[in-house]
């Protein structure tokens, strides 16, 4: 999608959430990015490095991305199954579009130097 503006959005979200003393100690940003989010982790990582060049205060911050596979929940058998090849079908054979994982685009953990 628009990885550079998303990275700017990451920093903006963190600047709203934490004060400048905390941000100065920020070490690692951990994100969860679902396969359905239209965001490519490698491009995100490169955009992160590019945005850091313009923002020296974040020069020592790392980005860690966890890629999340797509999972659907089946209302018939109650099971969650991983979607492969974009066939939204439960392991029991019933089609379902009840997506429970894979749409994530979120910061889930931030590490600070103590």
């Amino acid at each position: 999608m628009h990885e550079v503006s998303l990275v700017r959005g990451v920093f903006r979200s963190l600047e709203e959430e934490f004060n400048s003393d905390q941000l100065a100690k920020m070490q690692t940003i951990r994100m969860k990015i679902g396969l359905l989010s239209n965001v490519e982790p490698v491009l995100m990582q490169n955009a992160f490095n590019a945005v850091k060049e313009d923002n020296p205060q974040y020069a020592n911050v790392n980005l860690d991305i966890e890629s999340i596979p797509i999972e659907v929940h089946c209302d018939i058998c109650g099971k969650d199954s991983v979607v492969s090849n974009y066939r939204f079908v439960c392991d029991c054979g019933i089609p379902t579009n009840n997506v429970v994982k894979g749409e994530e685009l979120l910061i889930h953990q931030v590490e600070f130097l103590d």
Binding site: M1, H2, L6, G9, V10, S13, L14, E17, F18, Q27, T28, L36, S37, N38, Q45, N46, F48, N49, A50, E53, N62, L63, D64, I65, Y86, R87, F88, V89, P95, T96, N97, V99, L105, L106, I107, H108, Q109, V110, E111, F112, L113, D114
Partner: protein
């Protein structure tokens, strides 16, 4: 600029802050505000998406011609540049406002919200948002709509849905357009329906041709029925 991966192990003592910051939170917040306003006013809101050139504006011209005397409908249309689509819609007598995104490849809820301020929504039954032609980015942005309708033209190929899964996953209805060209193309309604329903089993499918008129009345009836349902909730 360094392009290597930068997920090195953290050094020194580290404390963790567990958090959940959604990057689309701002958009979703505005989308909910739009949804609430539309519910209060009893206006049906449709978000129409597709690739460029699949016939969104032409379908909306035909829709406008048939519905403008039956209900009060308005259109917000997004494009990167020019006022051309809004002009085409005004030509058939529909009140339309152009949102020029200036290079942005999708509409965000904030743009729709600002666009709504430029329209007189008193007494309006139906507001259609014609999104920027793009099957990727618009899928991620909730605009507060009741229904998301995605067009696929017969000229695009019946293998489109799985190539752009999130768009079809998040849509309520797929409209196959340019059906008058079916005899000349290796495209079948069955194949595109099967491909799309692998992703989204509850997807509704309609077939239309703005040139021959096939399916346009059924499409307009669907809109009228949904307008009635929305008013019913209000009453």
């Amino acid at each position: 600029m360094s392009v290597e991966k930068s997920n090195k192990a953290a050094r020194g003592t580290v404390k963790c802050e567990n958090t959940t910051l959604h990057l689309l939170k701002a958009n979703d917040f505005v989308a909910e505000a739009i949804r609430k306003e539309m519910a209060d006013r009893g206006i049906l809101l449709i978000n129409m998406t597709s690739s460029p050139g699949s016939g969104k504006t032409t379908l909306l011209q035909e829709t406008g011609k048939r519905l403008k005397d039956k209900i009060n409908m308005k259109i917000l249309v997004g494009d990167l540049e020019t006022e051309r689509d809004a002009d085409r819609l005004r030509d058939v007598g529909v009140d339309a406002l152009q949102i020029v995104t200036g290079g942005i490849c999708h509409l965000e809820a904030q743009m729709v919200h600002q666009g709504m301020e430029g329209l007189d929504l008193d007494g309006v039954d139906l507001l259609i948002i014609e999104n920027v032609g793009n099957l990727v980015c618009p899928s991620s942005f909730d605009l507060g709509e009741d229904y998301r309708v995605t067009l696929v033209a017969t000229t695009e190929g019946d293998d489109k849905p799985k190539k752009y899964p999130r768009m079809f996953l998040t849509s309520d209805m797929m409209v196959v357009s340019k059906s008058d060209l079916l005899p000349y193309l290796p495209f079948t309604i069955d194949a595109v329906t099967e491909d799309a329903r692998d992703i989204n089993p509850s997807l509704d499918v309609m077939t239309v041709s703005s040139q021959s008129g096939e399916g346009i009345d059924a499409w307009c009836d669907w809109l009228l029925q949904k307008v009635e349902e929305k008013k019913g909730v209000l009453a």
